[in-house]
């Protein structure tokens, strides 16, 4: 319980000045409410640090995204928009990307931001500490500064989604003057993050809150619109709901609020709900069979499993509407999605016919085979998914034994391929080449590494299609290949896609322009402001 943390109520947010109330235990952290107002948001779990370059977990991205920036931000349709780069050009051959940088940006310590910082970050530091950035920038032949405000990226071969590599958590620009030549992970500057973002770190009380204050020197006139952001750590789900309900907090994101509680809160007069702002992540959830093992290596068995499952059930009863059925590997909210694939309606009879055809006869109890399912140990939702899987399979005479594990054991078991079936959910990062291909191409079957092609799917044609699609420069050529890949995958079912996850952002409806990009709550909130 975090009574202590919430003992201070945020009262007025009108135009009338300061209001802060000290509660029962009275630790005196007053927070200002001036004309534009401050925002109290929930953060859970507490991030271990705020340097996005070194850690890409969700809470780090949320808070770090206010402190650090990258060259671009993205519209809801994932088209790039200016951030630290005010304009950019891509050469005809798709090999040269030239960015014009804003010329009046400063680091939080007052040092001017220049092209040298970008070159240092992308060419040196991120390549060492950030796996996803390394994969992107290793495609560059050279990254060079031309003058103080122009950066040129030259690629070895075209890479279509390259512009999506400049999202804040994918390529945060780091201050060269503080990091060059140091041990990045142990740099003392990590405790006092210095970025270019619209907010600066003001105070961090471990276990309680992180307070950000407006950066007065921000390079856009009139921004940020909020005076400060107060991130409060609230470990208990019920307390988070109460905080939103009473107005003690004005913003919750991702899975902060339990799915079944979202609608109740959304109906409250002072709160608004949006599921926008997660387009860049667009996670797809699936049941994952281990294709190295029998009977999962038989496509008929996978089809039978798929026919026994009903994604609508998951959407309605487990996600409480915060999801939609997925038809294939690519989320419908991202580019190159193709609905024209083999789809599977729940059909128990057909599933049983397939299993009969395989020769898996039912015994006296109506049982054909016993398989195991590794329960994902990340909370209620995952337990329910496992329980639903077991019940759905029983209709086909497939007995499912659930195996429990802890988070460490889960990653180890799955990445070392020691499971029958499990469940998983991966972010797509805006482009199939960044977030989808990794789960299906055979070159990414890497024992011991999580979030790879852990199920062990191998298909040379799919490999080729993904490889070609990544380097094509025309959208049509890419679409053609991704459509073909989606068709093959949906026929072969390397995993059983169930739902496209949505996340709920609940926020105080007096705040405007809060969620304005495809990275939503991870974006910098420069434009957010109070309207009433």
């Amino acid at each position: 319980m975090n009574r202590r943390e919430f003992s201070k109520l945020l009262l007025a947010t009108g135009t009338t000045g300061v209001a802060a109330q000290t509660g029962l235990f009275g630790d005196m952290v007053a927070y200002a409410q001036n004309g534009e107002g401050g925002l109290t948001a929930i953060i859970q779990p507490e991030p271990p640090l705020l340097v996005v370059a070194l850690n890409q977990q969700i809470p780090v991205g949320i808070i770090g995204g206010k402190l650090y920036e990258s060259l671009l931000s993205y519209d809801f349709d994932l088209s790039p928009r200016p951030q630290l780069a005010k304009s950019w050009t891509v050469s005809e051959d798709g090999l040269t990307y030239t960015f014009e940088l804003v010329d009046n940006a400063k680091w939080h310590d007052g040092t001017p931001f220049t092209a040298a910082d970008v070159v240092f970050s992308c060419d040196v530091m991120l390549k060492e500490v950030h796996p996803r950035a390394r994969a992107n920038f290793d495609r560059c032949e050279s990254i060079t500064a031309e003058g103080d405000h122009t950066v040129v990226f030259k690629l070895k071969e075209p890479f279509a989604p390259f512009l999506l590599a400049f999202e804040t958590s994918s390529a945060p620009i780091m201050p060269k003057h503080l990091y060059e030549g140091t041990d990045y992970r142990n740099n003392p500057a990590n405790d006092t993050p210095v970025g270019t973002g619209p907010f600066k770190l003001a105070e961090w009380v471990r276990g309680s809150h992180i307070r950000l204050e407006a950066n007065a020197d921000y390079y856009h006139e009139g921004e940020p619109g909020l005076t400060e952001i107060f991130y409060r750590v609230v470990p208990d789900g019920a307390s988070r709901s109460v905080a939103m309900e009473t107005g003690e907090a004005q913003l919750s994101q991702f899975s902060d609020i339990e799915t079944f509680d979202v609608q109740r809160l959304a109906d409250m007069p002072h709160l608004d709900l949006t599921t926008k702002g997660y387009e860049f992540f667009s996670p797809v959830l699936w049941y994952e069979p281990n294709l190295r093992r029998e009977p999962f290596n038989d496509v008929r068995f996978r089809k039978a499993m798929r026919l026994l499952l009903d994604p609508n059930f998951i959407v309605e009863r487990i996600m409480f509407g915060l999801a939609q059925p997925a038809t294939g590997p690519i989320a419908s909210t991202t580019k190159f999605y193709d609905a024209n694939v083999t789809t599977y309606e729940q059909d128990v009879e057909k599933a049983n016919a397939l299993l009969d055809e395989m020769g898996l006869a039912k015994d006296a109890d109506g049982k054909r085979i016993t398989i195991h399912h590794l329960v994902v140990p990340f909370g209620e939702m995952w337990t329910r998914l496992a329980e639903y899987f077991r019940q759905a399979m029983s209709a086909g005479g497939i007995e499912v034994v659930l195996d429990s594990t802890d988070p460490g054991g889960f990653a180890e078991t799955v990445s070392n391929w020691d499971y029958d079936t499990t469940c998983n959910m991966l972010y797509q990062f805006g482009d199939p080449a960044l977030g989808v291909a990794r789960s299906y191409i055979s070159s990414n079957i890497r024992k011991g590494v999580m979030f790879t092609n852990t199920q062990g799917y191998e298909n040379a044609e799919v490999d080729t299609l993904f490889a070609e699609a990544a380097v094509q420069t025309s959208e049509e050529a890419r679409q053609e290949r991704y459509s073909k890949a989606q068709q093959i995958l949906c026929d072969e079912l390397p995993v059983l896609w169930m739902t496209e996850q949505k996340f709920a952002t609940l926020y105080d409806n007096r705040i405007a322009d809060l969620i304005v990009t495809a990275t939503g709550v991870n974006a910098n909130f420069a434009k957010a402001h109070y309207v009433k």
Binding site: R264, R317, P377, Y388, D403, S404
Partner: protein, 276 residues
């Protein structure tokens, strides 16, 4: 024995306890008849209130029948309670009897081992064991048994020590019976009543430990148990009280019943009370 039974039945606690316990056992035995389908089956609409959609205790977040869960959960709770107590008795009585009867070095070693176990909070140890061994019905029984034996061992030891001094035991020894025979045929039968009483209370404790483990998500995911139901329903308690209240009542009822029976048994087996 007749006197014992009469004393037991004269205690209102004994009658009430026995009736309740009998009821719980009956429900456990009849579970497959009352609710032939698996308690995991999705029986109706989710969040159905008690009485709605044909489900007396309502349904849970996935639409599973709470009543079916409570009934089938009785089996799991009783099986775990009884078998883990048998395991604890096996360890505790054996070690306690050996320590009390042999004395000397053997006694000291066994008592020290018992003390080591007693210094570790038993629920924490149970969590640790179940987490390491991965939760299944048998590892849960094993773990609960392993954390529940020390009080039984100490009790047995002191009982055996006092009985071993009596004349009839000396007589049996003089007749040339082996030590094992004396212990099993003469000492233990005369030391057993308080052990039975403590054992019955251990069943209640075991049921509570199992419920707590399941509540924390360390139950066997393949068996519906009361603790699991409360744990799963806890998050929605503001919208749907019935998901946690009915299994909670079931635990309360069972544990109270066992305690009442234990208490009445204590009185009945105590010669001073029994003969008065």
């Amino acid at each position: 024995m007749n006197k014992t039974l009469r004393t037991f039945l004269r205690r209102p606690a004994g009658i009430v306890g026995l009736t309740l316990l009998g009821l719980v056992c009956l429900v456990a035995v009849l579970a497959p008849l009352l609710y032939p389908a698996s308690p995991w089956d999705i029986a109706g609409m989710p969040f159905a209130r008690p009485g709605e959609d044909g489900m007396v205790f309502g349904s849970d977040t996935l639409g599973r029948d709470i009543a079916a869960g409570v009934v089938h959960g009785a089996r799991v709770s009783l099986i775990i309670g009884v078998t883990s107590t048998i395991a604890a008795l096996a360890i505790g009585v054996t070690l306690g009897a050996v320590a009390g009867f042999a004395g000397g070095m053997t006694d000291r070693v066994i008592v020290r081992i018992t003390e080591i176990f007693q210094t570790i909070p038993n629920f924490v140890l149970a969590i640790l064991l179940v987490a390491i061994l991965t939760p299944t019905l048998s590892t849960i029984i094993f773990s609960i048994g392993l954390v529940s034996w020390p009080p039984l061992a100490r009790l047995t030891r002191s009982q055996v020590q006092s009985v071993a001094q009596r004349e009839f035991v000396q007589a049996a020894r003089c007749q040339g019976q082996s030590a094992a025979s004396v212990l099993v045929r003469h000492v233990l039968p005369n030391a057993i009543s308080p052990i039975i009483v403590t054992g019955s209370l251990t069943v209640a404790a075991a049921i509570l430990i199992e419920a707590a483990l399941s509540f924390m998500g360390l139950g066997d995911p393949n068996h519906m148990s009361w603790g699991y139901m409360i744990g799963a329903g806890r998050t929605v308690i503001r919208q749907a009280w019935w998901m946690s209240v009915f299994p909670g009542l079931a635990i309360l009822l069972t544990v109270v019943a066992i305690n009442l029976v234990g208490e009445a048994l204590n009185d009945a087996l105590n010669p001073r009370i029994s003969r008065s």
